[in-house]
């Protein structure tokens, strides 16, 4: 009668007693918390940030143009003035050529997405120098069956 609950009660009591004993045994410092002074000192083993060293690969007088480009990039990370220079770099292809290319490009890629009917129409147009608009219109429009 009431043995299980008694057991749980005694267990609880025992646990509480144990906790008390354990917490008394824990050592703790009465000293006030020391502020962490070391957060301001960072140990760094590399020399790179100390002396602001440049990038290790260098090329002079156009011996290796890729590396010369890299040099400008790398060294501009420290000096941001040079970033503007990069925008003015000579392009391989001039602007005019790009415009011309784009004109033709739009046409060729546009053809890809045309439906079959329109593709055939385009072909016919290309074949006939003088494009006849009548046959193309006729094909597109619906012809009423004549009675």
């Amino acid at each position: 009668f009431m043995q299980r609950s008694l057991d749980s009660q005694t267990k609880k009591q025992l646990e509480e007693e144990e906790k008390k004993i354990i917490s008394e045994e824990h050592w703790y410092l009465d000293l006030p918390d020391l502020k962490e002074k070391e957060s301001f000192i960072i140990e760094e083993r590399s020399f790179m940030p100390c002396e602001d060293l440049l990038y290790g690969r260098m090329s002079f007088k156009g011996f290796n143009p890729e590396i010369e480009r890299l040099m400008v990039q790398m060294n501009s990370k420290s000096k941001k003035e040079e970033v503007e220079v990069d925008d003015k770099m000579e392009a391989d292809v001039s602007d005019e050529e790009m415009a011309r290319r784009y004109e033709t490009l739009v046409g060729t890629i546009g053809k890809k997405f045309l439906k079959k009917r329109d593709q055939r129409v385009l072909q016919d147009e290309d074949e006939d120098e003088n494009s006849n608009t009548r046959p193309s219109k006729a094909k597109k429009m619906f012809l009423k069956p004549q009675d």
Binding site: S46, F47, M48, C50, E51, L53, Y55, F60, K61
Partner: protein
């Protein structure tokens, strides 16, 4: 660890101020993030063993190159020169090299091309040469076109159009450690006169 040398100080610039000991030594200790020139000594499975002049051979994974996949292996042979940076470098572990930076681009790292001359100098000279405005480098660049790779481990690789020019540059770089500015200018004048 004790080091002898000059204590240098940089007052607070972008970050806080910095103190460091400016000493002279020939032996390199691998440091994380340093760019070095290494020589491939062995090729074991997926890994290359690279000699960087430290106490241990550094390891370089074949995937640590730009555009390298398991099928697309980089073209690295034993005896090649590699310019890379340390991913891991502490005294408890074997150092690891990578030829790719944090954004995944090569940015100049990787196998260094054919020809050219590799030689060793002290670490102090390398730091002098890599300083933002180095007179030695500026004066040399006026002579003739050449290419230069400086590794923080004391190794320099030079390539010019002819063997003679390469050797001249090598000699000047080796000697300018102990020459004063005037002696150097004299030497360069002699060379450019030839």
């Amino acid at each position: 660890v004790t080091k002898c040398g000059l204590l240098r100080h940089r007052p607070a610039g972008g970050g806080g101020g910095a103190f460091w000991v400016d000493s002279q030594q020939k032996r390199y200790v691998p440091v994380k993030g340093d760019h070095v020139i290494g020589i491939v000594t062995a090729k074991t499975g997926d890994l290359f063993k690279v000699d960087v002049g430290g106490s241990e051979l550094a390891s370089l994974s074949y995937l640590a190159f730009e555009g390298a996949t398991k099928r697309n292996r980089p073209n690295v042979q034993v005896g090649d020169l590699i310019y890379g940076q340390f991913l891991v470098a502490n005294k408890d572990m074997e150092p690891e090299l990578v030829c790719i930076d944090s954004s995944g681009r090569a940015s100049g790292m990787g196998v260094i091309g054919q020809d050219g001359f590799l030689f060793k100098v002290t670490l102090g000279l390398i730091r002098k040469l890599l300083a933002p405005k180095c007179e030695i480098i500026e004066e040399l660049s006026q002579l003739y076109p050449f290419e230069l790779v400086l590794g923080m481990n004391g190794r320099i690789w030079v390539k010019a159009k002819t063997v003679q020019q390469t050797l001249i540059i090598v000699n000047i770089l080796e000697a300018c450690e102990y020459m004063t500015a005037e002696q150097r200018k004299q030497a360069l004048a002699k060379v450019s006169g030839n």
